[in-house]
């Protein structure tokens, strides 16, 4: 293993000409983390014996699911073995990007911190939709693309085919596509050389007022918020006072430094450099991704462009199974919010589910990750209501409602209902075009266009209502394409649609948790399906229970649960008594888990089965 080169330039005293800021764009499982591990080893910043797989992914869930949620920046010294910079030690700042559709904005900020990107594609699978979307994002940011095929050691690798595909996409020659195996290390040194050679050095004004862009902000329970920045102009120095340009808030720099890959304090970070700062703030909202940091004294007056406030797109009600855990849920959400500027929530009361929170997410993965962390890290048992989008309802009298919970959908004379729409990109083998188009049509999609990436792979673009995607679109897509399709989407605005609210009534009482907003053509099917499912799940009661689905006062589906007539064990003799008492105890426990809806006992399981997104969302990654 090569040792760390000599004469490594130090932070704040690094010539920008020697700096290369780059990121890696890759699909889940295409080997980004493994490649990053290999780079850490090859540049000597992590010794072999300290190496553990996927060094940079901190959270257990990330490691388990093989996904990266939070990006980090690592400073790697590298002296190219050939080419113009041969022998002189350069500083490569590798900025890790989140790999999922929900985090497009974070990705865009990570990309904005770079001059180049490694486009990493599995040589056995080819490019996937999310990678393609991020690639387009990188091209829009004028990043230099270094195309790389990974896993060339796999027997199923088809480097020629996919080199061709990548060359077509980015407009280079197939020979320009590097071929590596992150697993074995083959080709990784050549890749580092290529980064030095091809990626431009940062260009900034060294003596201008400092302007640094925040591309990530992470809460650490010991140190508070750790903010990762890219200095565009000027320099940030330790112990100086800084200002957040979006809010005007000022902080003292308690620590400034670089990651290599452990946090290493420095005197400052200069123009073109990447590093972290710690100011003692406790909440990532005070240090927002995309914001510009400048010096308090003689600071810049114009912020760097591109800052956006994160906007939740998908909402779900989260309720503790055990009502007494409500305060724990609140505390857990408060803690998660420290590290997640996109997480929003407010208390909500459901007649059926009790006290909980209506929580807004960037998308389905975000929802999944949060729910999983609440359950795993905080030990909470939760019911999550089916995810829904935000509707804008305009009444005939001109008043307007923003609906984040279907049960709050207004009654009365509605003029228009607007729902968010997304531009969806689907990549799949061309044999599935028919199945994909059929699915998108039934989900109210509008075809935008279709392109062949290679002979047998196609990119299909659709406009789809987001509501259709949050339901079970991804599962359907996967099953209709035998798992080969990949999906990416980005919000593109809203459209007016014929949407109605379907209510479910149990014994005449409306059950708020089961209300749903659907397209009017799908309302009947939804009503029939839900009513039938509830009939199966709700046990017979002492009286007859009608279950109805209704739009306003119009009933569109009905089932009846017959009254129970027999609930008695025939025999109860000597040996049965212990058994019967224990059975009774168990039944009492079961009764506790029943929720009273009006006079009807509804098992918790019925709520979970009907509401939970388990069928649809949890398998998404």
């Amino acid at each position: 293993m090569p040792a760390t080169p000599n004469n490594v330039p130090e932070p704040s005293r690094t010539d920008p000409a020697l700096i290369r800021n780059f990121c890696i764009i890759a699909h889940i499982d295409h080997g980004k983390s493994t490649l990053a591990d290999r780079m850490l080893q090859l540049t000597g910043v992590v010794e072999q014996r300290q190496m553990r797989a996927q060094y940079l992914d901190r959270m257990d869930i990330e490691r388990e699911r093989g996904i990266t949620i939070k990006s980090q920046a690592v400073r790697l010294p590298w002296a190219p073995t050939e080419g113009p910079g041969q022998g002189s030690t350069h500083i490569l700042n590798m900025i890790d990007t989140p790999g999922h559709v929900d985090f497009t904005y974070e990705v865009s900020r990570s990309l904005a911190a770079c001059e180049g990107t490694v486009l990493l594609v599995d040589a056995a699978q080819g490019i996937e939709a999310q990678t393609l979307a991020n690639l387009y994002l990188a091209m829009e940011n004028d990043l230099t693309i270094v195309p790389v095929l990974n896993k060339i050691d796999l027997p199923a690798a088809q480097p020629e085919k996919f080199s061709e595909e990548l060359a077509n996409l980015i407009g280079c020659q197939p020979e320009d596509v590097l071929k590596v195996s992150a697993k074995t290390g083959v080709g990784v040194d050549a890749l580092l050389d290529r980064v030095v050679k091809d990626v431009p050095a940062p260009v900034g004004v060294a003596d201008a007022p400092a302007r640094a862009m925040i591309f990530d902000s992470v809460y650490d329970s010991y140190r508070g918020v750790v903010t990762y920045v890219r200095v565009v102009d000027g320099q940030l120095n330790k112990r100086e006072r800084i200002k957040m340009m979006s809010t005007g808030a000022t902080h003292e720099l308690l620590e400034i430094g670089v990651s290599s890959p452990e946090m290493t304090p420095a005197d400052g970070i200069g123009v073109g450099e990447v590093g972290y700062i710690i100011t003692g703030v406790k909440d990532v909202r005070q240090s927002k991704v995309g914001d510009t940091i400048t010096s308090l004294h003689n600071g810049a007056t114009v912020a760097l462009g591109g800052y956006k406030d994160p906007k939740p797109m998908v909402f779900s009600g989260l309720y503790p199974l055990d009502g007494s855990e409500y305060p724990d849920l609140r505390e857990a959400l408060d803690k998660l919010q420290l590290n997640d500027a996109a997480l929003v929530y407010e208390p909500e009361t459901s007649a059926a589910l009790g006290f909980g929170f209506r929580v807004g997410f960037l998308g389905l993965l975000h929802l999944d990750v949060i729910r999983e962390r609440l359950e795993r890290e905080f030990g909470l048992d939760l019911i999550a209501t089916a995810p829904n989008v935000v509707y804008r309802v305009v009444m005939e009298d001109g008043s307007e409602h923003t609906v984040t919970n279907p049960s709050e959908f207004p009654e009365g004379k509605i003029s228009d209902v607007y729902e968010p729409v997304v531009r969806a990109t689907i990549l799949a083998p061309s044999e599935f075009i028919g199945a994909i188009m059929e699915l998108c049509q039934t989900r109210r999609g509008t075809l935008l266009g279709m392109d062949y990436l290679s002979e047998d792979r196609v990119e299909i673009r659709y406009t789809l209502p987001l509501a259709e995607i949050v339901f079970d679109f991804f599962d359907q897509l996967k099953s209709k394409t035998r798992g080969y399709a990949s999906l990416d989407y980005e919000p593109t605005g809203e459209q007016s649609s014929s949407l109605v609210k379907v209510d479910i009534l149990l014994h005449g009482d409306k059950v708020d948790a089961f209300s749903a907003v659907t397209h009017k053509d799908a309302a009947y099917a939804y009503g029939v399906r839900l009513v039938a499912k509830l009939r199966e799940l709700i046990p017979r009661q002492a009286f007859e229970v009608p279950i109805q689905a209704a739009i306003g006062s119009r009933v569109i589906a009905r089932e009846t649960i017959r009254a129970i007539r027999k609930d008695v064990l025939a025999k109860c003799y000597g040996g049965d008594i212990s058994r019967k008492r224990k059975l009774l105890e168990k039944q009492k426990e079961g009764k506790k888990r029943m929720k009273m809806v009006g006079s009807v006992e509804v098992p918790q399981e019925a709520f979970i089965a009907v509401l939970s997104s388990d069928d649809s969302a949890t398998k998404k990654k």
Partner: protein, 410 residues
């Protein structure tokens, strides 16, 4: 496959009871249940602790053999004497059940009873019952039992219909149980019971009426009618799961129960427990009433359950293991539980509510009392007794007894 035993704490080797179990014992009747864990064949619906000769072959050796069984059981009666110490109570009831007790020679049953008489003494009006399979008794057998002290006999009739008996794997011919009643009467048995099962897959309402009429016509003074319970692990459960026979709907069970109560009531049989009817108060099964009223009883035999003063325990299930424990001078108890006051309160509600006399409202806590008020309003409890401080189930309430109990124990 017999059903599993409950979990519990271990029973001491000598079977000793905690001292508090015997406190106030003199106030409570004492009964004996003697289990005979043998059957000629296993019926498809049965999950009782019983074994056929084939099932026992090679698993318990000579100890598990039914030839030696009476002697082994007598060992446990002697152990009971030691454990209960100087408890002066004579035995009020003895009930021999199974399995098929009448697979043993009548003399064996008499010997087991004699051991109880020798060790404890029988009360003058003691009720001594055995279950009997209609095909395994004849007049001589019945006379031996009667002479040996048995005065009550319970025949497993189940149904008068051949096709129903076939689903249940019962081997007797229709008509035989009724003949047994006459033979038992001739032998001098004062009390005779017929057990019936309703809701067997394939049984119609008319089949059930025919069974009730046949039973009544035979002249017993007691009828037990049980809904067929399909226990997990039985052959019948497997057949239903495979779709070979249909599962009987709960509503059908309810209908059959109503038919039973109406038919039996019309013939002079009054209900006194959810599944039991008798022509006179003296015809009630006193032994079963011990179970339902929290009295003490010692259950001897493999898998048998006992209760003395708030301690419930149960024996090891296998006849071989059972015999081996006794041969080694140890209690065959496999586990026991010591009931808390709350356990006993709950048990009283769930057992006594099944009886004609019901349970006293004074057993209920405020929430349970409120639930009882609702049950009264819903027509599940009788208003007359309620005014006198007792919760007594109505006919509809009997069918929903478990639901009522769940609310009353709150």
């Amino acid at each position: 496959m017999p059903s599993a035993l409950p979990d519990g704490e271990p029973v001491p080797d000598d079977g000793a009871l905690p001292a508090h179990a015997l406190a106030g014992a003199a106030e409570r009747p004492l009964g004996f249940y003697l289990h005979v864990p043998y059957c000629a064949t296993r019926c498809g619906y049965c999950d009782f602790n019983t074994y056929t000769a084939t099932e026992l072959r090679g698993t318990g050796g000579v100890l598990a053999s039914r030839d030696n069984y009476a002697g082994t059981l007598v060992e446990e009666v002697r152990l009971a004497r030691k454990v209960l110490g100087d408890d002066p109570r004579p035995v009020r009831t003895v009930f021999v059940g199974g399995g098929t007790p009448t697979l043993l020679p009548a003399g064996d049953l008499v010997r087991m009873l004699a051991a109880i008489r020798d060790e404890f003494g029988l009360a003058p009006d003691a009720e001594v019952t055995t279950e009997a399979n209609p095909e395994s008794v004849d007049p001589a057998y019945l006379e031996t039992l009667r002479e040996g002290g048995f005065n009550r006999i319970s025949f497993g009739m189940q149904s008068a219909k051949q096709h129903v008996l076939k689903i249940l794997d019962r081997t007797h011919t229709p008509g035989r149980p009724e003949a047994c009643v006459a033979e038992a009467r001739a032998a001098g048995f004062e009390h005779v019971n017929l057990d019936l099962i309703y809701g067997t897959p394939g049984e119609s309402d008319d089949d059930w009426r025919a069974s009730l009429d046949a039973a009544i016509g035979a002249g017993p003074d007691h009828v037990s009618a049980y809904a067929l319970i399909v226990e997990e692990g039985t052959q019948l459960a497997r057949r239903i799961r495979r779709g070979e026979v249909p599962m009987t709907d709960d509503d059908v069970h309810a209908d059959r129960y109503l038919i039973a109560d109406e038919t039996l009531g019309g013939a002079g049989f009054d209900w006194y427990e959810v599944s039991n009817w008798a022509t006179t108060e003296a015809g009630r099964c006193l032994h079963n009433e011990l179970y339902w009223r929290g009295a003490d009883w010692w259950g001897a035999g493999p898998g048998a359950h006992s209760h003395v003063g708030g301690v419930r325990w149960w024996n090891v299930k296998h006849p071989g293991a059972y015999a081996a424990a006794l041969a080694g001078g140890k209690s065959p108890g496999a586990g026991r539980e010591l009931l808390s006051d709350e356990d006993r309160r709950v048990e009283r509600i769930l057992l006594e509510l099944r009886l004609l006399e019901g349970c006293p409202l004074s057993l209920l806590k405020p929430a349970g009392r409120a639930a009882a008020d609702r049950a009264l309003t819903d027509g599940l409890l009788e208003s007359g007794p309620y005014a006198d401080g007792r919760a007594v189930l109505t006919l509809r309430g009997r069918l929903l007894a478990d639901a009522v109990v769940r609310n009353l124990v709150d």
